[in-house]
């Protein structure tokens, strides 16, 4: 090997070259600082949440709402709230046809019909059907029966001609409020819950621990929780289960998550959904951004209202964000509002070409398990974990920007997108 003639890396380096070199390094660092580091520090919307509702949905609700698709003999999802003493906010509300009986020390937690403010508590209480023959100092069954009789008599008094008018006699649903002798419990959640109960004014904490705290701008709460119970049965050699209001209670979070119940928290499903979205390459054809363009806010809008353009803070809970570069299929940033139906997504993932004519989307039949016994009575297979994950992930899109009471699809868009696109307001 011939030795080099010079040991100097930059042989005969001119002064101008040195200056250029230093200059370019400075400019490159400058570019990195300005375009990569500065924006998250300068623009608060890059790191701060869109609303208190968004924070509570991701941080309070999602980790504590559990979903299972594995209930034996059914294709429907099971939802259960994981309630924790001193953490979960609960309300016990009476309506015209439902009443609550409670022992004297729990009376204060009930919000009677038409009463305001709404009483919220973090004490672990639940409702149940009063059971006959349980003898305690407080006899719920007798009290409930007495109340029912009184209510029906009142109703008959109000509608003396009810038989002639062909009215049906009201049957009042009366439940008993009781305190759980535990630090945590599981409550039934309504099926396909995408939006949560939200209250931003006219509420009060009936609880010594939370009372002193300043009231937040609004809270997500669970209304009238009933305990989630299941019945187990055997089918041949396999042990199966189903929801049963009179069945056994679920002992722990481990029991809920393990076989055969197989529940997963929505937080887990959303996170998995993000991974499925990445791995299946959904993002090569679907963008996830409503741009600040009229065609975008219109295409993603409802019949009556435009969808607000995406803002940076909608994405702060995503490890990977898919704004996308190509729109082979429609944009997904508002899909939770535009297509909230799980059945629609089932049919569409199973066969997009039949579900929306003219679509070129591939079929995702591997999101479904084969249903050999046909017990699911489903034209598709039984949706599996990938489907539940991607569905929950998609349902976060556009639904969490503002609380459901101030939502854009009700025309309460904080950006006033309508005024901007109709030319009444300058940006």
């Amino acid at each position: 090997m011939t030795p080099p003639l010079h040991n100097n890396f930059f042989y005969r380096l001119e002064k101008s070259a040195v200056i250029t070199f230093i200059g370019v390094i400075l400019l490159f660092s400058c570019a990195v600082v300005v375009t990569l580091i500065a924006p998250s520090l300068v623009d608060p919307s890059w790191t701060l949440p869109a609303s208190s509702y968004q924070v509570q949905m991701y941080e309070v609700v999602d980790p504590n709402i559990y979903i299972s698709g594995s209930q034996s003999g059914g294709a429907d999802l099971q939802f259960a709230y994981h309630l924790k003493n001193n953490e979960s906010l609960l309300s016990f509300e009476e309506t015209e046809f439902s009443r609550i009986v409670a022992p004297p020390d729990l009376e204060k937690y009930i919000t009677h019909q038409g009463e305001r403010p709404l009483k919220l508590t973090s004490r672990l209480l639940m409702l149940r059907k009063p059971i006959k023959g349980v003898q305690t100092s407080f006899n719920a069954y007798e009290m409930a029966e007495a109340l029912r009789q009184k209510l029906q008599e009142d109703w008959e008094e109000k509608n003396p001609q009810w038989k002639e008018q062909g009215l049906t006699k009201f049957d009042y649903a009366i439940s008993e409020l009781y305190a759980l002798d535990a630090q945590e419990g599981f409550a039934v959640a309504p099926p396909d819950v995408i939006l949560e109960n939200w209250i931003s004014s006219d509420f009060v904490f009936v609880d010594t621990k939370l009372q002193d705290k300043e009231l937040p701008p609004g809270v997500v709460y669970i209304s009238n929780p009933k305990e989630y119970r299941i019945a187990r049965f055997s089918n041949g050699n396999t042990l199966e289960w189903k929801y049963d209001p009179n069945g056994e209670i679920i002992s722990s979070i481990e029991a809920l998550k393990s076989h055969p119940l197989g529940f997963r928290s929505r937080a887990e499903l959303i996170s998995l959904g993000e991974k499925v979205f990445a791995a299946e390459g959904c993002w090569y054809c679907h963008t996830d951004q409503t741009r600040t363009l009229v065609q975008d806010v219109v295409a993603n809008g409802s019949e009556s209202y435009p969808a607000p353009p995406s803002s940076a803070n909608e994405y702060i809970y995503q490890k990977i964000t898919f704004p996308g570069t190509r729109r082979i299929g429609p944009d997904l940033s508002r899909v939770g509002v535009k297509r909230p139906s799980r059945d629609w997504h089932k049919a569409h993932f199973w066969s997009p070409k039949t579900a929306s004519e003219g679509s070129i989307m591939p079929a995702f039949q591997h999101f479904f398990d084969y249903d050999p016994r046909g017990t699911a009575h489903s034209p598709t297979g039984v949706p599996n974990l990938s489907f539940e994950a991607i569905f929950q992930y998609l349902m976060t899109k556009g639904t969490r920007i503002t609380p459901p009471t101030e939502a854009w699809w009700l025309g309460k868009d904080p950006l006033n997108t309508m005024d901007i696109i109709e030319g009444r307001k300058e940006i």
């Binding site: 011939t2 570019a31 600040t292 219109v298 989307m361 039949q365 030319g423």
Partner: protein
């Protein structure tokens, strides 16, 4: 006369040629199976979302980046007048490089796609830490090339060496940012911003300087003429260094990022006109005294056509960054057309020209068939016209169709337009363009099969006719003086 051990270059270039054909086959497959006969071959491992990243992984990393590094192993020693600093380091790098990329790319159908564009490479496949292996392999390439330049015999550094050194640093930085640092910034849009910095710099600070280094080396070499202006080429080099790092955010214009950041990226995108004009002027002026060579040599045609495509892509780029143009072109097939004209039309053409020059020199045999090379060029060019034009015209038209939803003054009017022209109708309207795209793509694939046959026949078959050697400028065994 110096002799060079070209084994490392061969180990990078030969497989790369194979992956060019494979990658284009995947591309043609999805052009048909995704668009012409949508989802004809259907299923978990074969649908569009699983095959697209394999196509992209092939043509960007397994073909273009690998071929570029192979060509660096070829011409950097020749420009420095010394052998590669350490062939052993190169072998270690090659041993990490191919398994990492092959395993990574072929694992996508099994659900390993990581989810950031062009950074899909999984963290690990089985026991193989593919991301780390790739990074390490590239770091070794960079180290090896820097050491070769540092121990060079020729004092003056030719522009290709500047580009090489620049791109080695930038690539490493960009890869580290896009693969690792992205996970350290806050979740959400901050990561999107970092991702687009990576995405754009992959093209701007990796493939652009690599391609230009080749064009600047191989054009004077092939045409046997000195470069027109070294100073102009240096202006181009430093302006690339200045401009590219700023413009990542132009991928999300009108998107959920701060307006000032969008404006910054637009301003710097316009600056891109400077480096492109220096390159285009310089390459044309270089060939001007030898213009007849254009008709004589397929590789020269590849470089000059690549040069024209480079001009086109760099006119498109800044214009697409303008807010009003972006409103129409963004998110349509125009973008796909744009990415293909740069990575295929420009930098693949440059790399092909480089391989046509380098392989006969490395194997010390003339090219197997010049006729086939001519066919290769002509078919590539004629295939690329329906291929890219259909993407541009179709994309622009789809953008115009979408913009009809913005006609009118009231929401009722806007929404009415949307009901008259639903999204799915605009998809159906693209069908003729997608058919042309697939046909053009198939021609390009066929052309590059000829290329692979030609190259591997050159390598494997014995020399056809020793007399032919004298007629072929290609066969002249290159020496280090080359472009100097």
């Amino acid at each position: 006369m110096l002799t060079f051990d070209d084994t490392p270059a061969k180990w990078m270039i030969y497989p790369a040629v194979l992956f060019l054909v494979l990658g284009m086959s995947f591309g043609v497959f999805i052009a048909f199976n995704g668009f012409v006969f949508p989802d004809y071959f259907s299923g978990e491992y074969i649908h569009f979302g699983k095959i697209r990243p394999i196509h992209v992984g092939h043509v960007t990393l397994l073909w273009l980046l690998s071929a570029n590094i192979g060509l660096f192993y070829y011409f950097v020693p020749r420009l420095c007048g010394v052998p590669l600093w350490s062939p052993n380091v190169a072998y270690v790098s090659i041993a990490l490089w191919w398994p990492a990329l092959i395993l990574g790319t072929y694992s996508y159908p099994w659900g390993t796609n990581f989810g950031w564009e062009y950074a899909e490479l999984p963290v690990h496949v089985g026991l193989f830490p593919t991301k780390l292996m790739f990074t390490l392999a590239f770091a070794l390439v960079a180290f090896n090339l820097y050491m070769t330049v540092a121990t060079r015999r020729y004092e003056k550094m030719y522009v290709s060496l500047w580009y090489t050194m620049g791109t080695m640093f930038w690539t490493l930085f960009t890869v580290l940012v896009g693969f690792y640092i992205i996970n350290w910034v806050p979740m959400g849009i901050s990561r999107v911003n970092v991702s687009f910095f990576y995405v754009h710099n992959l093209v701007g600070l990796i493939f652009t300087p690599m391609g230009l280094a080749q064009a600047y080396y191989f054009l004077p070499k092939l045409a046997n003429t000195p470069i027109y202006s070294h100073r102009l080429s240096m202006i181009g080099f430093w302006s690339i260094a200045f401009v590219y790092a700023w413009i990542g955010a132009h991928h999300i214009i009108h998107g959920p990022v701060s307006q000032w950041l969008q404006t910054t990226s637009i301003v710097f995108s316009i600056w891109l006109f400077i480096p492109v004009w220096t390159v285009v002027t310089n390459l044309f002026a270089t060939l001007k005294p030898q213009w007849s060579e254009y008709t004589q040599s397929a590789p020269i045609r590849f470089i000059m056509m690549g040069n024209i495509f480079y001009l086109l892509t760099c006119i498109q780029g800044p214009l697409m960054a303008l807010r009003n143009v972006n409103e129409i072109t963004s998110k349509t097939d125009w973008v796909i057309g744009h990415s293909h004209i740069s990575l295929y039309g420009t930098f693949t053409f440059f790399a092909i020209a480089g391989i046509y020059q380098a392989v006969p020199v490395m194997v010390k045999k003339p090219l197997w068939s010049n006729k086939l090379a001519n066919w290769h060029f002509s078919l590539n060019l004629f295939g690329s016209i329906p291929f890219m034009l259909s993407l541009w015209i179709g994309g622009f038209w789809q953008g115009m169709l979408w913009s009809t939803w913005a006609d009118g003054g009231t929401y009722a009017a806007f929404h009415n337009h949307l009901t008259e022209l639903p999204f799915l109708q605009t998809v159906a309207d693209m069908r003729p363009f997608w058919i042309w795209r697939a046909i053009g793509g198939a021609i390009v694939l066929f052309a590059n099969m000829l290329f692979a046959v030609n190259i591997f026949n050159t390598i494997i078959l014995p020399e056809k006719d020793p007399l032919q050697e004298r007629k072929l400028p290609l066969s002249s065994v290159g020496n280090a003086k080359a472009a100097l």
